[in-house]
């Protein structure tokens, strides 16, 4: 494989601009889990002008809901969920200053447009490789919406979390480039 780019969180605009679709990266720092139910609550809070439980400025959201930690472990299996379900909420989160998203699968045009406008990067992790990914999580703490169980917002400290830049801040899209290259047409 090619060189792995080391990325630390929170992200800066310079770092985001330097990441290109197809780059292999490893992320170290704090990331926040949030998925369907948490996004619904967050965007409702934004709409009604309430303060959010987490300041997402320059932060990275990880679309994930882990399995419970076994005794002696910091977290259970913790892979990415399908990002497309968060498409309806993501532009609102980017307007709040969110700089990165980690998930799996393609994004909508609206999300990509907002990524270009707000200088945001979308990383893809390997869906279903959840036991492997859990190894890079060094601490996990619920910071909001505890009653949502697996859907609560968790603050994760990760070291060398492995992923790929799937869509960069210029809108270059690995899902389109890669599929186009391998499609066989007669």
């Amino acid at each position: 494989m090619t060189d792995i780019k080391k990325v630390s969180t929170p992200l800066t605009d310079e770092v985001v601009k330097g990441l290109k679709a197809g780059d292999q990266v490893s992320i170290t720092g704090v990331i926040y889990t949030a998925r369907d139910a948490a996004h619904k609550l967050l965007t409702e809070a934004i709409a009604s002008g309430e303060e959010l439980p987490v300041d997402f400025t320059n932060q990275v959201i990880y679309y994930a809901g882990p399995t419970p930690a076994k005794p002696g472990k910091v977290i259970g299996s913790c892979g990415p969920t399908t990002s497309g379900r968060m498409d309806a909420y993501s532009p609102t989160m980017m307007e709040q200053g969110l700089k990165g998203m980690i998930g799996k699968g393609p994004r909508s045009k609206e999300v990509i447009d907002s990524m270009i406008k707000n200088n945001v990067v979308y990383f893809a992790a390997i869906g279903g490789a959840a036991a492997l990914i859990a190894d890079s999580v060094k601490s996990a703490e619920v910071v909001a919406f505890d009653d949502l169980g697996p859907e609560a917002i968790r603050r994760l400290e990760v070291v060398d979390y492995p992923c790929i830049v799937a869509i960069d801040s210029e809108g270059n899209n690995l899902y389109e480039l890669g599929v186009h290259q391998y499609r066989v047409t007669e």
């Binding site: 494989m1 197809g22 292999q24 139910a37 994930a64 809901g65 882990p66 399995t67 419970p68 930690a69 076994k70 259970g76 299996s77 913790c78 892979g79 969920t81 399908t82 497309g84 379900r85 799996k104 699968g105 393609p106 893809a124 390997i126 869906g127 279903g128 490789a129 959840a130 036991a131 492997l132 859990a134 949502l148 169980g149 697996p150 859907e151 492995p162 790929i164 799937a166 690995l174 899902y175 480039l177 890669g178 599929v179 186009h180 290259q181 391998y182 499609r183 066989v184």
Partner: protein, 281 residues
């Protein structure tokens, strides 16, 4: 009459749930290992290598291979000579799911109401249970914990008979194309053709309970499965949707007689974590 107590059923379901989450069946793993060699794309190969490594790690550490440990679909075949004692079959299965998901540290992914109040039930119950009465004195329980990432990409179409075989093929290819990278490819494609609207979707799900890659017993359907697999793997979607030659690991078709005026086709996709485990009591 053979008596089976509900406790025995619950204990069996509990073990099946935990085993399914942590221990990928050998049939699926074999197809994944073959896929690593077939795949040519850089990120496709990278993904498959990670997926296989994850399967090994999950088994060694007895950890769930995917955090989405699914909603549990259970196919039960009850022999007519079997007498279940101590309670109902449905309660026994749900008790097994409850114990498996709590004691096995699996994720609870079920909400009690689908629309008005999506509150988590806290123990991954209820399961989706299909019961069939069969001859004999055995009770066969098969569990398929189904993740929603792939389940969301399923689809159904009531085709006109005039659309014929070409219409069936076109719809299946279209379903996989539209799913793209969402259902965690490489996928197993379950297809149900015939019956009624509901029957075709059940057949598509049941197709996923077949040993992965095992061909249809009818040579004509076997050929159709092979043809569709080849066509799907020309789509270029590849592992995780990053582009590549392996979009599907297998196509399984199940059929049923149907009405003269219809031809229902359902497609149910399974991610590469194609979990299925069974026991005969």
């Amino acid at each position: 009459m053979k008596e089976i107590t509900v406790d025995v059923i619950s204990a069996a379901v509990k073990e099946l749930c935990i085993d399914a989450a942590c221990n990928l069946p050998e049939d699926v793993e074999k197809l994944l290992r073959e896929a690593v060699h077939k795949e040519e794309s850089k990120f496709g190969k990278y993904s498959l290598e990670k997926i296989v490594k994850n399967v090994e790690l999950a088994r060694a550490e007895h950890a769930p291979m995917c955090q989405d440990t699914g909603m549990v679909v259970v196919f039960v075949e009850v022999g007519q000579e079997v007498h279940i004692t101590g309670g109902t079959l449905q309660d026994a299965i749900n008790e097994g799911v409850r114990q498996g998901y709590i004691d096995g540290y699996l994720r609870k992914s079920v909400v009690g109401d689908p629309v008005l109040n999506r509150k988590n039930t806290g123990d991954n119950t209820p399961a989706v249970i299909y019961t069939e009465l069969v001859p004999g004195d055995e009770l066969k329980i098969q569990v398929l914990p189904k993740g929603a990432g792939s389940e969301n990409m399923g689809s159904l179409k009531m085709l006109k008979p005039a659309e014929g075989l070409e219409g069936v093929k076109k719809f299946i290819i279209q379903a996989v194309t539209e799913a793209g990278g969402n259902p965690c490819p490489p996928v197993i494609v379950g297809v149900g053709v015939g019956g009624t609207m509901d029957k075709s979707t059940l057949l598509a799900k049941k197709a996923l309970s077949r040993e992965a890659g095992a061909p249809h017993p009818d040579p004509a359907y076997r050929a159709l499965e092979e043809e569709l697999l080849e066509e799907i793997n020309k789509l270029g979607i590849g592992p995780q949707g990053f582009g590549g030659k392996v979009t599907a690991l297998a196509v399984h078709i199940e059929t049923y007689p149907t009405h003269i005026a219809t031809m229902p086709v359902a497609v149910c996709l399974n991610c590469h974590a194609a979990r299925h485990k069974e026991v005969i009591l």
